[in-house]
Symmetry: C2
Subunit: 328 residues, 2 copies
Amino acid sequence: MTKLSIDDVARAAGVHRSTVSRAFSRPEAVKAATREHVLRVAEELGYTMSPVARALRHGTTPLVPLVVPDVINPFYAELAESMTQAAGERGYQLLLCITDGSDVRTAEYLTAVHSLYAPFGVIAPSTRVNFERLRQFGFGDRVVVIDRVAEGSEVPSVTVDSRRGIELAFEHLRGLGHERIGYVSGISGTYTAHDRMTAYLELAGPALVILDGGSDSAASGRAVAHYLALPERPTAIIAANDMTAFGLIAGLAASGVRVPADVSVVGFDGLMLGERFNPALTTIRQPIAEMGGLALDLAEKKAAEGVVDHVVLAPELLERSSTAAPPS
Amino acid sequence: MTKLSIDDVARAAGVHRSTVSRAFSRPEAVKAATREHVLRVAEELGYTMSPVARALRHGTTPLVPLVVPDVINPFYAELAESMTQAAGERGYQLLLCITDGSDVRTAEYLTAVHSLYAPFGVIAPSTRVNFERLRQFGFGDRVVVIDRVAEGSEVPSVTVDSRRGIELAFEHLRGLGHERIGYVSGISGTYTAHDRMTAYLELAGPALVILDGGSDSAASGRAVAHYLALPERPTAIIAANDMTAFGLIAGLAASGVRVPADVSVVGFDGLMLGERFNPALTTIRQPIAEMGGLALDLAEKKAAEGVVDHVVLAPELLERSSTAAPPS
DNA sequence: CTGAAAGCGCTTACAG
DNA sequence: CTGAAAGCGCTTACAG
């Protein structure tokens, strides 16, 4: 079980170290018979190449970090899942790094994985990314962001059209007959969160009501209290994201308010979990599964051609059971 | 932005490479003035040490892989979260690896991270771990498992007393007056899943009903159908895990069956999400937050003293709103 | 306390 | 097609 090196294999196979190296890394550069012999010996010995030695020489590994604030939020979980898949298809191995929103930990992960010679990294931030700091920590611009980024940014990004999403929610709700449509905000800090709120403010018209609970875990409780205290309650509520919608609905239900009989709720994200919620959540779907693959593509494109793309995907309405006509 | 090496710093600071190395790695072995000077120069240059070169020489990194089947299941997500925390406190960096249950991917991750000189790995399996294969892929026994393991296993493990958990559920339900108590199974494959089911079979008595939907995502739909078709329905149901309970409750609600008015449901896991469910889920809590730290401790203990521990934690009842007295 | 040298496990021009 | 040598960026006995 002691660790084997390339020289052990070379000795056992009766060839030089460089031949063993070639047999693995550039098989066509070695006579077929030699190669097979070497490979067989290596196999028998149970030898596997050390990626770190290789990385040190070669200057690259297939390891790609995906940095997320947390993974309990199913949005990040689904993203991680789809990106793991997408990475595998492209010959990478995804390493998920959880930062808890800590800048320090983000930096630590990025330097660690960077100096592991990862070709690039992907960040799904919980706050606007500080590229100055990023650059300091080694990755420089070899990063793709899953959020909107500032105008003219040199960092590729993948995001969803937030305004269009909120618009879809309004269209759906107004189509059902709702006029007073409220909004509950969730985590803030990202451009995405900001954009959704802005879109709501623009589209709400005079009947605007913001149930702002803040961004911690007790937020939905406060939003519910706010709703209950309202002299003229909205008949529908758009939640900034699905998790917020879940908390809101559970809180309303606990206070005897029925969804959608008393009030309709639309989420934003399109988490699979929404299907299992009670009631199943009507929501604006982001194409999470596509986003992972796209992020990887953008990273490769930038590396190869120096092109910085900002992809904006179209959201769509996922109509389930948490919306209905307003109570008459 | 071109990558700096230790020699660049040495040159800039006017010292030998080994002095730079010591300034970073064994500060007490360098005169204070020299050290500060070196460190300052390094800082100005924006130099950070390459973990891979270091690993290659040193034979170890602070990187610890946590291998999970998926992260959409909040159980694994919460585990990952708490272990990231615990790893940080102990000087490690956790790298989350998602396998989708694929043996091949597990192996790939393990070899990759192993050969990155990770000191050990932690596996939260979705099926019984095949240690033969593990050994083949480099990590040998330097692994800790979060599940029960076979008797006499040389691999440390952390798990929760499944039987006691099911017992708690029965005590709670019978205390409320329930007699016909059913069971819905979830993912199978792990010892844990097996143990929960076995405990149910032992404790259910003659009124045993298994609503077995299988382990895919449509499972809860089938379990609901089964429940509805029953001539004599159970008044309470124990779900093999929280996710299954969520699906079950949502499915029941969609069919007009109210929880807990018509039927009580108890989950198993104690996910935070259960608090936001509608109704908030009564469940058997596993101390997930502790499990992460413990797994790390066991790994260190085995490395240091060669001791293989199997820790079995006590579950507890988390009484929320999905259980009540049976309908009269 | 500091420097010079060897070496961790590989790869890659360069000869042959 | 294969071998010998240099070197990736570090660390660590060993001298001094």
